[in-house]
Amino acid sequence: MNLLTRLVSVAVLVAAWQAAAQAAGSRLLPAPLAVATFIAEEAARGDLFHNVGVTLLRVGVSFGLAMALGVLLGVALGRAKALNLALDTPLLVVLNTPALVITVLAYIWVGLNETAAILAVVLNKLPNVAVIVREGARELDPGLEEMARTYRFDRRTWIAHVLVPQLQPYVVAAARSGLSLAWKIVLVIELLGRPDGVGFAINFYFVQSTNVAAILGYSIVFMSVMIAIDILILQRLQAHVRRWR
């Protein structure tokens, strides 16, 4: 039933798109079939897989780094008051700096290379993860802390069975919101200074020929990949960490 509702909703969306394209009759609003044709041709040339693969790799590496560092920073901030006070303002500054500014500065200071691209995504994403995980580390159940101290839980036991389970919902929430943020930023970074990837391709078709079918095609393919990752990996992870509820 759920699946059916979803399918109907997608079908209605595609039909509306088809109708709008027909009414407009313009190259700037191509019909679904034109987009599908572009995707097939681009796939046949091999460009599609190359660009999507490169972007996926960038998203994966920067997302992984941002999650790992952000979780560590978030736990430290949530547990150490002094550190939190010292880093709260810098964190707010980075959190409120536009992604575009961080990206441009990374390219200027580090150079037009892969390191700068990854660094820019990590810097954009890390403060979000840290702030979400900080909330989790602050909300640790004081009753369980006393219990753990009374029964002299050793450090390993405490981390594995008291700390981590309490952080898990926050980490998964940060991962899910962060993954979509990360790939959106990666596209901007590719557009600004990389010779390949989905962002580069979209910019190329825009500047070269305002090929809207190409822009929509790339966008749909990459979006589908990210939604698949969310459903197949992250939502399952979330269900797994909530299994005891």
Binding site: M147, T150, Y151, T157, H161, V162, P165, W244, R245
Partner: protein
């Protein structure tokens, strides 16, 4: 089990003074000159008005609060023998099974020991693989009791362990505690504000004053637990209420 005084002491507490310093208020003196001991194999109940510093006293003797004047022997911060503690709330790890909750609270070296008898005795055998969220409060308290008993401590500390249970669940859990500690020869220190409950199980009552908590009286209940009937309990309670109107209500 009458606490005649010949048995060795398993816990000696002497809190000269415990003062809380709230950030934006006057200091509060929670405990002043409270001293008592628990001897081997006896059940001691700590009774006092709510907010009297009973929980503060427990936190100090568990080593959770080092900021006080006085001493606890054996020192909970250095002694390797930890008392088994049952908190007022069960304080189980909701993301771990019943069995994991019990085993994780034991020292690593003894975690693998056979607990079949313990789980069976407490009626928890069918629940070992379940998460605490699937259990009633009464069953969760049993798990907390299993966790406290698993490492066979010399002293079991209970903080209002039977509150918010219906009478039947409270009575069955109380029966289990008494029967288990008698069988294993453990000592019990139980904090409660339920006088009837204390009269039913204790060898000795320690009556505390209102804050700052100090010892008002020490009452030894000589009659063996098995022959304590309703009339005796009523009479004992009435006698206590007459002698200590500030601590025990009519």
């Amino acid at each position: 089990m009458s606490g005649a005084g010949a048995e060795p002491t398993v816990l000696r507490v002497a809190i000269d003074r415990k003062v809380y310093h709230p950030a934006s208020a006057e200091p509060v003196e929670a405990v002043r000159g409270l001293a008592f001991a628990v001897r081997s194999g006896e059940i001691v109940c700590l009774i006092g008005p709510s907010g009297a510093g009973k929980s503060t006293t427990l936190r100090i003797l568990l080593g959770l609060d080092p900021d006080y004047e006085g001493r606890v022997e054996p020192d909970p911060r250095t002694d390797s023998a930890r008392p088994g503690m049952v908190f007022q709330e069960p304080r189980l790890l909701p993301w771990r099974t019943v069995e994991q909750n019990v085993r994780l609270a034991m020292p690593r070296a003894r975690r693998g020991r056979d607990l079949d008898a313990l789980f069976a005795h407490l009626g928890l055998a069918p629940w070992r693989g379940r998460y605490p969220g699937a259990l009633s409060l009464g069953m969760q308290r049993r798990v907390a009791l299993a966790r406290a008993l698993a490492d066979e401590p010399r002293l079991l500390v209970l903080d209002e362990p039977f509150v918010s249970l219906d009478d039947a669940a409270a009575a069955s859990l109380r029966g289990l505690v008494v029967e288990t500690v008698d069988r294993l020869g453990m000592s019990v220190l139980m904090v409660t504000h339920n006088v009837a409950e204390a009269i039913a199980v204790a060898d000795r009552l320690l009556l505390l004053s209102a804050r700052p908590a100090s010892l008002v009286a020490e009452v030894t209940l000589d009659r063996p637990r098995q022959v304590r009937d309703r009339a005796w309990a009523e009479a004992t309670r009435a006698g206590l209420a007459a002698a200590h109107p500030g601590v025990i209500a009519e």
